[in-house]
């Protein structure tokens, strides 16, 4: 699944980094780093992380088939 975080909105609450630590990672206290293409086995965690983000900064696109353009 593809992910993008609006890092202008992100305030470093780290909810995503708690809930999907293999995909979202805090670099220092506040800078968020993430894997823009997350493996499918992380999708449930990523969905939890996106739901939990207090500023709704995480956009996730579920596996898009080649037809979806």
């Amino acid at each position: 699944m593809k992910i993008v975080v609006d890092l202008n909105r992100c305030q470093g609450y780290a909810q995503c980094a708690f809930l999907a630590p293999q995909v979202f990672e805090m670099h220092g206290e506040e800078a968020l780093r993430y894997t823009p293409l997350a493996p499918e086995d992380q999708s449930e965690r990523v969905r939890r992380a996106a739901a939990a983000c207090p500023v709704q900064a995480i956009l996730v696109e579920e596996e898009a088939g080649p037809g979806v353009r």
Partner: protein, 455 residues
């Protein structure tokens, strides 16, 4: 009339962040006509900010930064082909292969490209890179994987500083050469520039400020090092030219639109101006390529190289493309961007270069946790936080309401002394790299806004 606007042919030139978000918004707003996306790069839209961060660290592959979609866009994609001109009278776009694409409304979102090394022969040496596209990042990351002995970063703006940060995190030796007095001064002024310099030194960057790179040396076509204006030489097997960006407007030279080195001028509703400063009603602009007036900054035309601006302006442009006059919206968002480097999260709202003074309102430079507030003639025009993002929306509100500068001296985590100092924003000509925000005067007509680059 309005029903017409929801139909017809829309062509978007530039299939990156602004182009994609505009396409999604067009469909959200009920556009049912034909939508064509033209992009010079062969990839589907991808995200650039990770290129200088996760990708250079080797944690994410360059080809894996594809942008997620907010919805299906139902577009015809013409990728890997360049638009070479617009005929505004015949209303068609001309592509490099000669194809003419008719449009009813056109969105120009061709962004910027990396400013190349001025000496083409030196720039062609193996080991010399720029960083703008995913291909650039893939090549550079591969070179970093191979463990170069020393990387030279030319220009210490945001991109250059992030590259240096990635190098140090990977344990690579890095020299940063910057013509200005410190890293990031062009965007953030003197006080935070000094912090950025201390940060780089603390992380083991060989930082050289107040110098220019006068020559890149090579042997057998490979980079071996560089000469600096202070007479010193350094050995390096990789050099990254981070001298800022150039607007992709040359292809519009014969279009009659107000396009120049500072971008394509448009009104607050993202409608492009023609070369006489008359607004068009079928050509729209969004993203890094746009130059637009902003009421908070005395209606000066702004050119921004910010991710958030590309998204917001694309949404406004798309809305206005499919709605009649009275329902149109202005693009008034306060400029905002972030950068992460050396473990710090730097966020900015407003335009820090539109300032004469700055004050540390919370935290301190020593702790590397702070909010700096910028003022221009007694009102607040910008704020920058370093690892203090949770307060920033307060300052954004102060900017939006043109609150007096300096801000009230009552805040939690207030420094012992908070006296405003000059913001020390240098003339862009003194920097190695171009500014990522440029105030470009009041005139949409390109002939009045020619920019002279001195290298």
């Amino acid at each position: 009339m309005s029903a017409d606007l929801k139909n017809g042919r829309i062509v978007v030139v530039g299939a990156s962040l602004a182009g994609l978000r505009a396409a999604e918004k067009l469909r959200d707003e009920g556009f049912t006509g034909s939508l064509t996306m033209v992009g010079e790069e062969s990839q589907l839209p991808y995200d650039r900010p990770p290129l200088s961060k996760q990708v250079l660290l080797g944690r994410v592959r360059a080809e894996d930064t594809g942008l997620p979609r907010r919805r299906e866009v139902g577009a015809q994609w013409k990728l890997g082909i360049r638009a070479t001109g617009v005929d505004p009278i015949g209303k068609h776009l001309v592509l490099a292969d000669g194809e003419q694409l008719p449009y009813d409304r056109l969105l120009i979102a061709t962004g910027t490209r990396a400013r190349p090394w001025p000496n083409p022969g030196e720039g062609a040496l193996d080991g010399v890179f720029t960083l703008r596209t995913s291909d650039d990042a893939a090549r550079l990351a591969e070179r970093f994987d191979a463990g170069p002995r020393r990387v030279l970063v030319i220009g210490a703006g945001f991109t250059g500083s992030e590259i240096a940060s990635a190098c140090r995190e990977r344990g690579l030796e890095v020299t940063v050469a910057e013509r200005g007095p410190a890293p990031l001064v062009g965007a953030l002024g003197g006080a935070l520039g000094a912090l950025a310099a201390r940060l780089q030194l603390a992380h083991g960057v060989d930082l050289r400020c107040g110098v220019t790179v006068t020559a890149l040396n090579g042997r057998n076509g490979r980079l071996t090092g560089a000469e600096l204006s202070d007479g010193s030489r350094i050995e390096a097997d990789v050099a990254v030219v981070a001298l800022g960006a150039m607007r992709n407007t040359e292809w519009l030279a014969a279009s009659g639109l107000a396009a120049g080195p500072r971008g394509l001028a448009c009104d607050a509703g993202c409608r492009a101006f023609d070369m006489y400063g008359i607004v068009t009603d079928d050509v729209f602009v969004a993203g890094d390529v746009a130059r637009f007036p902003h009421p908070l900054f005395e209606y000066q035309m702004l050119s921004l190289e910010h991710w958030g601006n590309a998204v917001e302006q694309a949404e406004v442009a798309a809305h206005n493309m499919v709605n009649p006059g009275p329902l149109r919206r202005p693009h008034l968002a306060v400029p905002a961007f972030w950068s992460s480097q050396f473990g710090l999260n730097i966020k900015s709202v407003g335009v820090p270069t539109f300032s004469d003074q700055v004050v540390i309102a919370q935290g301190s430079l020593e702790e590397r946790r702070l909010v700096a507030v910028y003022g221009y003639r007694g009102r607040i025009t910008a704020a920058v936080s370093v690892n203090r993002a949770k307060w920033l929306e307060h300052y954004q509100r102060l900017i939006e309401t043109a609150a007096p500068f300096p801000p009230e001296p009552a805040a939690v985590d207030q420094p012992a002394s908070s006296t405003p100092v000059p913001s020390d924003v240098p003339d862009p000509k003194l920097l190695s790299h171009g500014p990522t925000v440029a105030l470009t005067g009041h005139q949409p007509d390109r002939r009045l806004t020619l920019m002279r680059w001195s290298g």
